[in-house]
């Protein structure tokens, strides 16, 4: 959505929302129950129709509900199409400067280590201007959860080339297609971050079908649990679309995504220290640095001061 469109949705309603429920009665006693997660405020979002940002905002809210953590969660909104998500999420929210969400989240988490802190970021925000903040929050093993929406484009500013735009992808600022000889190659964030010892959980998902949405929610929940259990930093990358700036219908955009993005950004778990048999990132890191005496935890390192 283009920046100017945001002004249309300016007045949000600051009331404590009840859990809303809409029931559509079907024939033969069947019914569809539409509920809004409590952690999603009853406001109209500013996303374009068919944009996965809406799905992901909802999934995050559902997970906050299911883990019953809305009241102890502080979210960080980025600069990008989801900038105004501070008005959508029911938990306390902080709006960060472009790319700085992981640093802002770090500050919050250090003050409230017993609370849950997440940052929701786009690919320009996370992988370009905020790459230093991203990498360092990850390597510090900050107990925060990052939700990373990779739509291979700068959505909010109207469709410029992103660090994740594919080779030969046409965008407003790569009108002849991304030329890897001059614009270089896309960044694969899950692969990159999984090399860092601070990362406890990294998974790449997508939300193009009910099945993949259910899977994305499972991953998201796991990422939040990883934070709550103090295991380490967690990130969920969502391979997404931008129907508006890709110039496609939502269905066509998902098709293009499946055809071009998924081979470049394969789905799956990239790091899971718990599944690898470690209690947390510290155990996993010590094991990785087995041959390095100084890098061992103090107990094992006794006497070597």
């Amino acid at each position: 959505m283009i920046e100017k469109d945001l002004t249309a949705r300016a007045e949000n309603v600051p009331v404590i929302p009840a859990r809303s429920e809409e029931i559509i009665e079907l024939a033969e006693g069947e019914k569809i129950v539409k509920t809004r997660p409590h952690a999603l405020l009853p406001v109209v979002t500013n996303y374009c129709p068919g944009c996965p940002h809406g799905i992901m905002n909802r999934l995050v809210a559902e997970v906050l509900d299911e883990l019953d953590i809305e009241g102890k969660t502080i979210g960080v909104a980025p600069v990008g199409c989801s900038v105004m998500s501070y008005d959508f999420f029911g938990c306390d929210m902080v709006e960060a400067a472009h790319g700085r969400s992981p640093a802002v989240a770090t500050g919050i988490k250090r003050v409230h280590p017993d609370k849950v802190v997440f940052a929701y970021q786009g690919d320009g925000d996370l992988a370009s201007i905020g790459m230093a903040e991203t990498v360092h929050a990850a390597t510090r093993g900050e107990k925060i959860t990052i939700i990373f929406i990779n739509n291979a484009i700068y959505g909010m500013t109207g469709g410029q080339m992103a660090p994740t735009s594919l080779p030969n992808q046409v965008t407003q600022t790569s009108p002849y297609g991304r030329d890897v000889h001059t614009a270089g190659f896309p960044v694969r964030i899950c692969e990159l971050l999984s090399t860092l010892d601070g990362v406890a959980y990294a998974e790449r998902v997508c939300v193009d079908s009910p099945k993949s949405i259910r899977n994305a929610k499972r991953a998201l929940k796991k990422a939040f649990e990883c934070q709550i259990e103090g295991i380490g930093y967690s990130i969920i990358e969502v391979v997404s679309t931008c129907p508006t700036n890709w110039g496609m219908t939502p269905q066509k955009a998902f098709e293009w995504m499946r055809e071009n993005m998924l081979p470049y950004y394969p789905l799956g778990v990239y790091r899971d220290v718990k599944a690898d048999g470690f209690q947390d990132i510290y155990g996993a890191a010590a094991k990785r640095a087995e041959g390095c005496p100084i890098a061992q935890p103090p107990a094992a390192n006794e006497g070597s001061k």
């Binding site: 929210m93 709006e95 500050g107 849950v116 360092h136």
Partner: protein
């Protein structure tokens, strides 16, 4: 009762006083000449149950401060000139979100990488435009180690009271200098007033809090800015701080802050010995600029001399305050050079000669005689 005087470096006094003011969260990035401040914090904070975090950059550090301040804590960062430039973005967001925090600039020479020697060349940056947008922040300019300790205390209080970032503008000389100092009484952070606006989790007790500087409806942003500037008016009316020295009958009024005020002070003493009625106004807050104190000199002043360690920055504010009542001159050294008392005295004598001042016999008051 014996006062508890200790000998401390300026940078360490800033750190210790911040701890005593209830600051438990420090985010920084190494740079000379503020090094001792961060080192002190890294040593003390873990023992006080706080957080010292060496960020990946000044950009990250100030954004960590933003997060910690939004979360309701007294948070601080320190750096020196090149690092402060990087903090500009974050400070603008902090001001826009109405959050309190303290930023310390132990200035060095500039522009660019400049030098690592003392300087006051970030005056404009601190008082005019550290970041984009319509905002100011209170700026304290201590000139002794004792005052460095005291003003950290004041800075946190002013920050919380008006929900604004506050800067302490020191320099490499003050940071490195050792002087005896009596530390202020420690505050237990748990006893600080509640911050009902903090984003710390609503616990199901209230509507969500939001820390934000985005207002896409023009009239909303204007409303916000106008409200903030009303607060600035209160700050201007109540938070100006300055000290005067021999100004009652001063014909040549020097204006100097921080390290250069110490030199100007010596020059005034010598000028008085030579029978020139010189005085000194020393701004302790640079924003708000102490125009009220300066106004008390209008009756006697025949000329002003702004003494700075830069190419002439505060002199603009002196001119605005004096508003044509008397000529305002400037003397400064730059590049990391500290002006000498003799150089400043020579300027006073030149002005005295040009104006036919000095050589008075009966009314001139020396500080020792007064």
């Amino acid at each position: 009762m014996a006062t508890n005087k200790v000998l401390m470096k300026g940078n360490e006094a800033l750190a210790e006083a911040a701890l005593r003011a209830g600051c438990r969260f420090f985010f920084g990035y190494p740079i000379t000449p503020q090094t001792e401040l961060a080192a002190y914090m890294s040593k003390r904070l873990p023992k006080e149950g706080g957080t010292y975090l060496q960020a990946e950059s000044e950009v990250a550090a100030i954004n960590m401060v933003y997060g910690a301040a939004a979360a309701g804590a007294r948070a601080m960062t320190s750096s020196s000139s090149p690092g402060i430039s990087l903090k500009g973005e974050g400070v603008s967001y902090i001001a826009g979100a109405d959050l309190p925090c303290v930023i310390i600039n132990v200035q060095r020479g500039g522009p660019g990488l400049g030098s690592i020697q003392p300087s006051q060349s970030d005056y404009w940056q601190a008082t005019r435009a550290l970041g984009h947008g319509d905002f100011f922040m209170p700026v304290f300019a201590p000139s002794t180690v004792q005052e460095m300790a005291n003003c950290v205390y004041d800075a946190f209080n002013v920050a919380d009271k008006y929900r604004t970032p506050v800067m302490i503008l020191a320099d490499g000389m003050l940071g490195q200098m050792m002087e005896p100092v009596v530390m202020p009484e420690p505050i237990d952070p748990a006893t600080l007033p509640e911050k009902p606006w903090a984003t710390c989790g609503h616990g199901g007790e209230r509507f969500h809090n939001v820390a934000n500087s985005l207002y896409l409806v023009a009239s909303k942003l204007e409303e916000k800015n106008v409200e903030r500037f009303k607060r600035y008016e209160i700050i201007k009316a109540t938070e100006q701080r300055a000290e005067t020295f021999l100004c009652e009958d001063a014909e040549i009024v020097l204006v100097a802050f921080g390290a250069s005020a110490r030199i100007a002070h010596s020059a005034v003493v010598t000028a008085r010995e030579k029978g020139i009625r010189a005085g000194l106004v020393r701004p302790i807050t640079l924003w708000p600029f102490p125009v009220d104190t300066l106004a008390t000199t209008f009756d006697t002043a025949r000329a002003y001399l702004s003494v700075e360690m830069n190419m002439g920055q505060m002199v603009d504010d002196v001119r605005l305050a004096v508003n044509g009542r008397a000529p305002v001159e400037f003397f400064g050294r730059t590049g990391g050079i500290i002006p000498t008392p003799a150089e400043v005295l020579a300027q006073i004598e030149r002005i005295a000669a040009e104006k036919g001042l000095g050589g008075c016999c009966c009314t001139c008051k020396n500080s020792d005689e007064a």
